[in-house]
Each structure stands twice: as C-alpha cells, then as structure tokens.
C-alpha cells in the first residue's frame, strides 16, 4: 500500500474524530447531573406530532410561590418539583431551570406508528420526560415516560392489552 498522504489522513480521520467528539460531549452532558422526571404537555394541542417528532413543553408544577419571568423551576430528585424565585439559593433544589428553559417548545424523536397512542397519553397528562440539567443551565433529555414506564415498553404493553 502506498504511503498515505496527509490530506487523505485528515479527510478520513476528521469526520471520525468529530463524531467521537460529539458522542463524548453528549455522554458528558448526559452524566453532568442527577436525572429528574418532569411532567410534559403537548406544545401545540392540535398537532403534537410533526413527522416523527413529538412536540411538547415542560409543565410548571401547581403553586403560588411565584409567577412571571423571574420564576424558576426547582427540580428535586424526589420528583417534588416546585416554583421558586430565580437566584434564591434553596438547599432543597438539586437543580434550577429558568422560565425560558421551561417554556421552550421541544421535540422528541419517536418510533414510527407510535404517534397516535403517545399523543393521547400526553393529552391525558400521563407523560413525563426524564432529563438532567447541564452546568450551563441547558436541558439534556434522556427518555420519555408514560405512566412512569419507558414509552417503548408502555407501547408494547398497550398493544398487548388491546
């Protein structure tokens, strides 16, 4: 085999290195904090599905503690999330999410054919998203849960029941 030129090496390795870098970064973000389960609601109630993506938004817990742009979501590993004033140090909070982060419309990739059942479940308020908060305050999504179980397993159980 002829000696490989620098150009060929770079051309072949750069995409692989970038791919590996993206995977490592995603894994680090995934492991950067405790995992919380937060209830979700359909972002657009008329059309939760766009292609193979479920459109949703994180739900605020009920409470009168605060409202408006300075209100943050206090996440607790126990699952008892509350509203608090942003910037207020609260030992009970394992992580905080800004209002912008909570209200942001999000998408979750789902399996072909899973749309209608998931859409109905989320309309009924059975959906929750497992996520962690990265050090820079961003949300990193792990998995969709319906009635407390992973959505794929829920779909299988649901299909068997029917």
């Amino acid at each position: 085999m002829k000696a490989l030129t620098l150009h060929l090496w770079l051309a072949l390795l750069l995409p692989v290195v970038a791919f590996a870098g993206l995977v490592v970064r995603a894994e680090l973000l995934r492991a950067s904090g405790p995992v919380f389960r937060v209830a979700i609601a359909g972002y657009d109630p008329r059309d939760l599905l766009q292609g193979h993506y479920l459109r949703y938004r994180l739900q605020w817990p009920a409470g009168e503690a605060c409202d408006g742009p300075t209100c943050c979501l206090c996440l607790q590993t126990s699952g008892m999330h509350t509203r608090i004033q942003c910037g207020v140090a609260d030992a009970a909070c394992d992580a905080q999410l800004s209002r912008q982060m909570v209200d942001q419309a999000r998408e979750f990739f789902i399996q072909e054919g899973a749309g209608p059942a998931l859409e109905q479940a989320i309309r009924r308020g059975q959906g929750a998203m497992a996520l962690n908060v990265t050090p820079n305050g961003q949300v990193h999504v792990h998995e969709l849960f319906i009635d407390g179980i992973r959505y794929r397993r829920w779909l299988r159980d649901n299909a068997q029941r029917q």
Partner: protein, 380 residues
C-alpha cells in the same frame, strides 16, 4: 441504429468507404455500454438499499444506542478502507463515489448523534460542522458532480446560517443590508472567483471548469435581472439603502475584474477584454439603476439587457464558442420581440416601435449571418 443510418449515408455520399464504415461501427459497438443492463442492475441495487434502510428505520427505536454508534463507526471504517483501496486506481469514478459517500456519511453521523441523544441544537450548527469536517473528504474526488455537491452543501448551509448570522449582528438594519449584499455578491461572483484560483485549476480542473461555467451563468443571470432595476422607480430612501450595500458589491466587482484573468487560458487571451467589459458594464448599468434616484426608464433597462447579451456574444465570439454566440443572438432577438409588446400603446407608437424593432432584428440577423455564422472556421 441511428449511427448505422448515419454511417450508411456517409458511405452513400462517398465521404467514407466500406472499410472505414466497418471500422467506425466496430469501434462504436466496442465503446458502447449496456445502458439498459446497467439501469436495471442499478435499480435493483437501489431497491435493496432503500429496503434495508426501511427495515432498519422500522426497528430504529429498538436498536440500542451503542449498536447504532458502532454501526456508524463500521460504516466509516468500510468507506475509508474503500477510499484507500481505490486511491491511485484507473477508475476515478470509484474514488469520486466513495468520497461523496464519506461526505454524506459525515452528515449522517452528526444527525445520528443528535437523534440518539435527543440533542436540541439548531440545524445550522450541524451543517457548519459537516462542512468543516467533511469537505476534505470531498476534495478527494475530482469529478464535476462532487464540485456541484460541495456548492449545493455550501448553499444550503448558507441559507440556514443567514438568519442566525443576522440575529448575531443584532437586527441592525445596516448590518442586515450588508449581510444581504455580501451573501448575494458571494453567490453571484463567488464561483467565478474560486474558479480563477490557480491551485484549483491545477489540482482539480473539473472543479474549476464547473465553477467557471456556473459562475458565468450566475453572473449573466444576475446581470440580466439587475439591469431591469431601471424598470422601477427609485426614491431617495431606496437609494440610501442601496448605497449601504454598494461597498460590498463594489469589492466583489473589482475582484471579478481583476481575477477574470485567472480564467483566461494562454491560448484564449482574446476574450479577456470582452469578459471585463461584460463585468464592468453590467455592474455600471445595474449600479446606476439602484444608486441614483429615478423614475422608471424602461428603455434603459431593455437596452442594458441587450448590452449584456451583446457582450456575452462578443465573449463567445472571441473565445470561438459559437454556441454561446447563437444563444446570445437568440436571447437578444427574443428581447427585441418582447420590446414590441412593451411599446404597444397608441397606433403611432406601436407602428414606430414595430418598425424600429423590425429593423433591429433584421440588422441582428444580417450581423449574425454575415459576420459570425459565415466566418471561416466558425462552427455555427
């Protein structure tokens, strides 16, 4: 069959003898490729490929993340091995196909990470990363298709990057105009400027030739549209905004005027002057149309269009590209015919317009037949 009929006609006309006819037919039969067989085979392979992808996609959610990521690494490895294997071989198309595949695989790998980890980034970030890390693989290819794919990828990325870029500039109107002018000028003059690079011409002649053809096409199209600015009325506000972007456009025009010499091969220096005249005059007519307040002056717009295409014809004539001359002549004739319709009004104006246009068309026909088509060596 068509070739056989042609060869028979040449033989009957006494142009070639029977032995030559036999040799031509034998040569063409050897050179011909089994197109139908290749098409059916290709269709079969394509169907299998799409079927495999569909089967994998149907079970995508059940495939563990690690398996997906390792499969992607496997695809990278197989494709890279193919590229190393194909290096230095006669069949350049194999390297081209594998390089294109590696480029596509790079985008697929970025999308895979985004999908498997449910990442919520913007599409432009993925596209920019793709261009940065994948373009070198495309540079391994040498064919025209790879050159077009790269340009397409650049255009798509540019379209996605534009809005975030303007947002980054802070929604400032001045910055927005500058961004528009830069992107527009780069789209019009970029391919020509890139094609004029000696490194590209030496290392990837097919890339340079493709970008040159595309660049001239883009420039003539833009100039043909641009001169029609004279059909609009420009008030002082429009002009003020146009002046904001004019500096950027001017830089590109000057670069074009300078670098056009890089497109002229030593044997065809004759068309350097008409090429520069085309760039310069098109820029001046369009520039005046948008940088000076005026009421609609349709005549100047139409005249500008004819000037642009007359210069295209001149370029083609000097470069001995008679097809270009013919095309430009036809476009000018069509434009003059459209001018008939534009001058429809009173009986007097219509009559005068028809006569003037008719005389112009006759003059054009005379010029084309006597001065161009019948030139010795002309291939029209």
């Amino acid at each position: 069959m068509r070739l056989e009929r042609q060869v028979q006609r040449w033989q009957e006309a006494g142009i070639i003898d029977a032995a030559t006819a036999e040799r031509i037919l034998a040569h063409e039969r050897r050179a011909s490729r089994p197109v139908l067989l290749l098409a059916i085979g290709g269709l079969g392979a394509f169907a299998i490929g799409v079927g495999l992808i569909a089967v994998i996609a149907a079970n995508w959610g059940d495939i563990p993340r690690l398996v997906k990521l390792l499969a992607m690494l496997g695809l990278f490895g197989a494709n890279a091995y193919g590229l190393v294997w194909a290096r230095g071989r006669q069949q350049r198309w194999v390297t081209d196909a594998l390089a294109l595949s590696y480029f596509a695989l790079t985008l697929a790998s970025i999308a895979l990470v985004g999908q498997t980890y449910q990442l919520e980034g913007e599409p432009y970030q993925a596209l920019l990363l793709w261009l940065v890390v994948g373009s070198l693989a495309l540079w391994l290819a040498e064919g025209t298709f790879a050159a077009l794919v790269f340009l397409g990828a650049l255009a798509v990325t540019g379209a996605f990057v534009f809005d975030p870029l303007v947002d980054l500039l802070g929604h400032d109107r001045h910055a927005r105009i500058l961004a528009h002018a830069s992107l527009g000028s780069a789209a019009v003059c970029g391919p020509l400027l890139v094609a004029s690079l000696l490194t590209l011409q030496r290392r990837r002649p097919a890339f340079a030739a493709t970008y040159e053809r595309l660049g001239w096409g883009m420039f003539v199209l833009a100039a043909s549209c641009g001169v029609h600015a004279w059909y609009l009325s420009m008030n002082t506000n429009d002009v003020r905004e146009a002046w904001m972007g004019a500096r950027v456009v001017l830089v590109f025009v000057v670069l074009g005027l300078w670098r056009v010499q890089g497109l002229v091969f030593r044997t065809h220096v004759d068309w350097l002057l008409p090429a520069r005249a085309l760039i310069g005059l098109a820029a001046v007519v369009t520039g005046l149309g948008v940088l000076v307040p005026h009421a609609p002056v349709a005549m100047l717009g139409a005249l500008g269009f004819v000037i642009v295409w007359a210069l295209v014809a001149w370029c083609g004539y000097r470069a001995h590209m008679m097809q270009m001359v013919n095309l430009a002549t036809a476009v000018i004739a069509a434009r003059i015919f459209i001018a008939y319709i534009e001058v429809f009004g009173s009986m007097l104006a219509t009559g005068a317009g028809l006569m003037v246009s008719g005389v112009l068309l006759l003059a054009l026909a005379w010029l084309w037949v006597r001065k161009i088509r019948l030139q010795p060596g002309g291939t029209a």
